[in-house]
Symmetry: C2
Subunit: 324 residues, 2 copies
């Protein structure tokens, strides 16, 4: 589906982001702060958020250097949440390598995350146009991400939730930062409130689709392509879009299925749940939810200048069709 | 030494800060994020940092509302570090109440700290004059605080250090934020670089004196007045200004003393170390270090308009002579 040009362009933006991350003005010392930060940033991230900022910003002719600094800021904010969330969720692997709290320890990981969010602010402070509006948009999103993570903690601790609570949670935890990433592209090009609001919704819906796909891939992809501990949701009995849809669909049957699943070892459990989600049509329903979010996102693209629309359409489809 | 007027003024600023903290626009939900944040902020903090911002800023006729927002920002940044540091240092008590990670759990405390640093940024975004310069000064200090905490982690894990390393660490960990608090008072009143730099040094030296006093009070004050777990430095065998001065003074004797101390229970250990620090003159040497920092701070006050100098002199002496 992707044209070679588009794929090349995305690869180019990813590599430029990686280069800019490597060029971040980090001192050597204290190494207890900067080594784990450098380590966390060299993981194989998809850099979707900065890529989104670049794509939107270039559609409106924003200053490329501003876009790079804003892109670095959103990528850093994302990495800050990963380092801290991995402690909270006891996730051992991230971006194909040990999580920071495993490679070092929890204290070092808390501090590395703290350093990364400050570096994000400092990167944003290097933006030259509409800086103040960009900073406000960024910090509003950062607080919403924290709210989303709080809801996720509640859900993980067994709070009874339905699929709507879950969608609300991922909108905050994942959607708001992708929303901010897209909106920054408009803000830096001095676009009006209506356009920026559509851009925010565009990114936010992409984020929801991304997270739904993440839950699906967690069960259905193979561990090598995901680069993180596959099945950890299953292992920790975490509520996902699949389990919540299954419960909504047939609560009694789902209770039975999840009880049976718990008696199996992790490998058999994964196979058992995969089969159930497939034949009950739950996987399809989850995919439809992701598609609906992508459709909603695409509707917002009406504010994008015509000649750049196709590129952002492709970006949306890339998120929907990703396999890792 | 304090005039009633001065004490009243400080009390007034503290109460106004407490009120402003209570008025922070925090939603109710998710309570997992906002309850621990509200809890952390209602502890009996001294609010020294915002008071310093107000005192300096009023000396230069800065906008009072700006000063309040900047004061809230530095106080929030301070509280962010406390919530996270208490996890890292396993400190159970803070400002007369259970630490956040004790009252809730580590995950909640990590997230609460994250929320607080974002709220700090949002408070600073409400400043109306020289906003951008204030934001840059603030984030530079925030990164330096992280560097100081990294050094503190190294020291706590047994890295061999001397008194100079220690002073460098507290300059970063405590000095930089008090430096920023004072500097913001000048920045918001649009003062030049030279003045702002002196203000920064003023606050920074106060911070060093404060931290040295903290180490002394940790051993010599009574637990009720400190409002935190007294002797926790001793209990965890943490390197402090007292132990480092003792080691520098007579390394062989200090090795013997600290070995003997470790064999005693916490109560006897405190008494034993108190006696040693007193009679060896180490306590006096530590106090002299604090006094030197205060003298250095007072020299920087030459940039303060004459009619406001006395007030800031009193503030410096208040820090030197504090008993809790």
């Amino acid at each position: 589906m992707d044209t070679p040009d588009f794929t090349d362009h995305i690869d180019f933006l990813r590599k430029e982001t990686d280069k800019a991350l490597k060029r971040l003005p980090l001192p050597q010392n204290p190494s207890t702060l900067y080594d784990p930060i450098t380590y966390a940033l060299k993981g194989e991230g998809k850099r979707l958020r900065p890529i989104l900022t670049h794509l939107v910003g270039r559609a409106f002719q924003a200053d490329p250097e501003d876009l790079m600094n804003a892109g670095i800021a959103v990528e850093l904010l994302h990495n800050f949440t990963l380092v801290h969330d991995d402690i909270m969720d006891a996730d051992d692997t991230r971006h194909g390598q040990d999580s920071v709290h495993i490679k070092w320890n929890e204290s070092t990981a808390i501090l590395a995350g703290d350093g990364i969010i400050v570096l994000a602010q400092l990167a944003l402070n290097r933006v030259h146009h509409q800086t103040f509006q960009a900073i406000k948009c960024f910090n509003k999103a950062a607080l919403t991400v924290c709210e989303g993570q709080a809801m996720d903690l509640d859900f993980a601790s067994g709070t009874k939730i339905g699929i709507m609570d879950y969608l609300n949670m991922i909108e905050k935890k994942t959607g708001s930062l992708l929303g901010c990433s897209a909106e920054l592209g408009g803000i830096l090009a001095n676009q009006n409130e209506n356009i920026c609001s559509h851009l925010h919704t565009f990114g936010c819906e992409l984020g929801k689709a991304f997270q739904i796909q993440d839950d699906i891939l967690e069960i259905f992809s193979n561990p090598e392509s995901m680069g993180k501990s596959l099945g950890s949701d299953v292992l920790t009995d975490k509520q996902t879009v699949l389990s919540l849809l299954a419960k909504k669909d047939n609560s009694a049957e789902w209770d039975k299925i999840s009880k049976e699943a718990k008696e199996l070892n992790i490998h058999d459990r994964l196979t058992f749940l995969r089969t159930y989600y497939e034949k009950s049509g739950i996987r399809l329903k989850a995919s439809l939810l992701a598609e609906t979010a992508i459709e909603e996102a695409r509707r917002c693209l009406k504010v994008i200048p015509e000649m750049h629309k196709a590129e952002l359409e492709q970006f949306a489809l890339m998120i929907l069709n990703r396999e890792k």
